[in-house]
Amino acid sequence: MTVPQAPPPDFVTRLWFAWACFFRVLFDGSFAGRAWAVRDAMPELEPARMPKQEPAPSKPKASETKQREREARVDEAKVREEGRTAGLNDGRSQGALSMLSLLQTEGRFVDFLQQDIASFDDQDVGAAARVVHEGCRKALRERVEIVPILADKEGTPVTLEPDFDAHAIKLTGNVRAESSAVKGTLRHKGWRAKAVKLPEPTKGHVHEVLYCAEVEL
């Protein structure tokens, strides 16, 4: 099975995707199965391949893709050389770690994902999910303003003008090159981040500490 390479999305999109996947894997068995298959098919994760700030507007040519893959391998080697902490001091990862730390502090997000929950019944998972949902929802709402991309109700017909934003709207099903307006059914209204307000770290802030160990005296 081959995994198609999409241009890496920006941080907020990834955050949302991780979030959406988390609940779908948890509650949608068939999705979880498919995700598992994809995961197995991937030879290995490429941790060194840092996403670019701007996704490439057009599909890169094959030679460019090859070039990028070569670069990625070089990066990967460099990262291994520099040791495990590399990448932590990068500005973009600091934003990601900061958000992760907030989700953990206010909603115990990391605890939830780090735990193997297979052996627990739904009641226990439910009690924990409430903690995670309530806290993470508050943490997210206070820092990221999120609005739907399309305002229509899901399941209703929509018409897209020819110049619709292909970065924000994805066509599925019987997709053809069209020069006129296209009609379809809205399956997912999409999400867009309108504003982000992350806490400012103070001097001496240690980004890789997501949540302090706690010792009661």
């Binding site: 900061s98 730390s101 735990q115 806490p199 400012e200 103070t202 001496g204």
Partner: protein
């Protein structure tokens, strides 16, 4: 440097807020100022509110840095509030309630209560100073090139604060460099904010003859005031006619009550809840409370409690709070339907009580309100067995709930029906969180211009207690006469009232007089002597102390003096001793309002 802006400061029991209005700007309005603060051990955020908590860091924690001070070892704000649950001995909370606690020495290092030895404890005054200092620093950070100390400051205090508590608040503000200072009572600030929010239409919302009762239920305290709408020379005139007592009762009590219900359910299910988890439950209970109050069709709301350790699943607990429990605990417990004759219940305190805050003994806001209205019967020239408000202005976070508002409106409506008066209406559109700060800044604009101003003056009449000269009888206290030294409603800028009676004071030695206040005796004029009074009418305050310096006089001489009372520009009561035989022109001494608890006689 002249002031560029007027800044309203709400120095609350649980939260502080800041609002700013530009001076000399056309159509200036007061806007909130976001306050930078530590929200985690090393992360900063701007928030509308600064929680009134102070955390003392430990040496191995290192600095708790702010952009303007990287070496700071204490923190004010959200991070301090969070640490209050985790390490309560290192955190100061409710400093404001201590500031107005007459039973303690408010300049002594009382706080934090139960602090470990490594902390140098500080006084309620200093804690207030540190909150104001943080506000000042956050202001300078938000408005580079401006200093809060250069601006016109309107600082709010509860209407129920007595003269000494107001003096202490001013002391803290001066220490924080806020010199262009005016005090304003919080309920008045809430009304100013409402007036500002009406953009001039308030004239059609109010009528001459209205009596507005401001019901302010915040996180830690409940406060009532009444403001009358009158007419003078064809325009409105607002007069604050009555203030209630300081009641330590608020939203925190309600959250705690719900947390105990959830705790009982979990304990019944065989779970153990420790102190920190109870604090977590209290926090979660607030969310459940707000949801159930907002939506009566919701049958239950879950209170989820995270596991202490990293094993979240399996260790997290959940208890449901039902609509019926909200009804029984919150609505019937804190806002019961009571008769207009109901009064707050006060239990006799058993023997020696532990040194602590004087929390309200009756949690029913409605009974407290009935008590206030009955005590203030006759205010504003009204007749009848209780004060008859015609309009209600709500303030404070708890009153955001439409259901709790409705309950108070209904109860008050029933009382007014029985009294043969119309049901009061609600003044809509107030900002219940930031209203006090915004109203304070608006008042700063009003002081400069022509806007509608609330007249008030001192919220109490003040009396000095003088022992009658009678032969001493063992075991019997000599009878005491209370002489009025400052009348109710004395306003800033009015001529000092001189107290006709001469008192003898020994030069060079502190002489103490018993001191009293009354929030209900409106007619007493300076010099009036009361030989007896109802206990509920007059309350004893910490004594005043007069020390005459031995300049131009012999130490040990007895000098006859008169007392003179006035209200300072800041809005505090000023008592002065004026010798009847001055040795130089305009000789007078300021009398300190004692803020120490009276020591019991040995």
């Amino acid at each position: 440097m002249s002031a560029r802006a007027v800044v309203g400061i709400d120095l609350g029991t649980t939260h502080c807020a800041l609002a700013r209005a530009e001076l000399d700007a056309e159509g200036a309005v007061a806007k909130k100022v976001e306050l930078l603060q530590l929200v985690g051990p090393s992360s900063l955020e701007r928030r509308d509110l600064l929680p009134s908590f102070l955390y003392f860091g430990t040496p191995n924690e290192g600095a708790l840095p702010l952009p303007w001070d990287e070496e700071r070892t204490f923190a004010v704000g959200e991070f301090a509030r969070a640490r209050g649950v985790e390490a309560p001995g290192r955190v100061i909370a409710s400093a404001k309630s201590w500031l107005c606690h007459p039973g303690v020495d408010r300049r002594s290092g009382l706080l934090p209560q139960g602090a470990p030895e490594d902390i140098e404890t500080i006084s309620p005054v200093e804690a207030s100073y540190r909150y104001l200092d943080h506000l000042s620093e956050a202001y300078a950070h938000a408005f580079p090139g401006e200093s809060l100390g250069d601006q016109d400051i309107v600082l709010t205090v509860p209407a129920s604060f007595d003269a000494a508590a107001r003096d202490l608040t001013v002391e803290a503000a001066l220490a924080a460099g806020l010199e262009n200072l005016t005090l304003l009572e919080e309920p008045q600030a809430a009304l100013y904010s409402w007036i500002a929010s009406r953009h001039g239409t308030f004239r059609s919302d109010l009528r001459v003859g209205d009596v507005i009762v401001v019901i302010d239920v915040g996180g830690g305290t409940t406060d009532f005031s009444a403001i009358a709408v009158g007419e003078a020379e064809g325009s409105f005139e607002l007069t604050r006619i009555a203030v209630g007592d300081h009641i330590l009762l608020g939203g925190d009590n309600m959250d705690l009550a719900l947390a105990h219900i959830a705790r009982q359910k979990l304990v019944a299910a065989g779970k153990e809840i420790d102190r920190m988890q109870l604090a977590g439950l209290t926090y979660a209970a607030r969310t459940a409370k707000e949801r159930l109050l907002a939506d009566p069709s919701l049958a239950t709301a879950p209170i989820a409690l995270a596991a202490r350790g990293s094993q979240l699943v399996g260790g997290s607990l959940r208890a449901d709070v039902t609509q019926e429990e909200i009804e029984r605990t919150l609505i019937e417990g804190f806002f019961p339907v009571v008769a207009k004759s109901a009064r707050p219940v006060s239990r006799a305190r058993a023997g020696l009580t532990q040194l602590g805050l004087p929390y309200a003994q009756d949690p029913a806001v409605t009974r407290q309100l009935a008590g206030f209205l009955a005590r203030q019967a006759g205010a504003g020239g009204q007749t009848g067995s209780m004060l008859h408000p015609t309009a209600i202005l709500f303030n404070g976070g708890v009153m955001k709930s439409a259901r709790l508002q409705k309950r108070l409106v209904d109860v008050l409506g029933t009382w007014m029906d029985e009294e043969g008066h119309p049901k009061p209406r609600v003044l809509e559109g107030a900002d219940l969180d930031l209203g006090v700060a915004i109203g304070a800044a608006h008042y700063g604009l009003v002081r400069k211009g022509k806007g509608l101003r609330i007249r008030g003056g001192t919220a109490r009449a003040y009396y000095v207690g003088i022992e009658s000269a009678v032969p001493a009888v063992p075991g019997i206290e000599p009878p005491i006469v209370a002489m009025c030294v400052a009348p109710f409603g004395m306003e800033e800028g009015s001529a000092p009232t001189e107290f006709p009676e001469e008192l003898g004071v020994v030069v060079g030695e502190p002489v103490r007089f018993r001191f009293f206040g009354s929030s209900v005796r409106r007619e007493d004029t300076p010099g009036l002597q009361l030989e007896s009074w109802k206990e509920s009418e007059i309350e004893e305050l910490p004594p005043i102390e007069i020390t005459l310096p031995a300049v131009g006089r012999q130490e040990g001489d007895v000098v006859p003096i008169k007392l003179a009372a006035s209200v300072t520009d800041v809005g505090t009561l000023l008592l002065e001793a004026v010798p009847t035989e001055p040795v130089k022109d305009d000789e007078r001494w300021k009398i300190e309002l004692s803020v120490r608890a009276e020591q019991p006689a040995e």
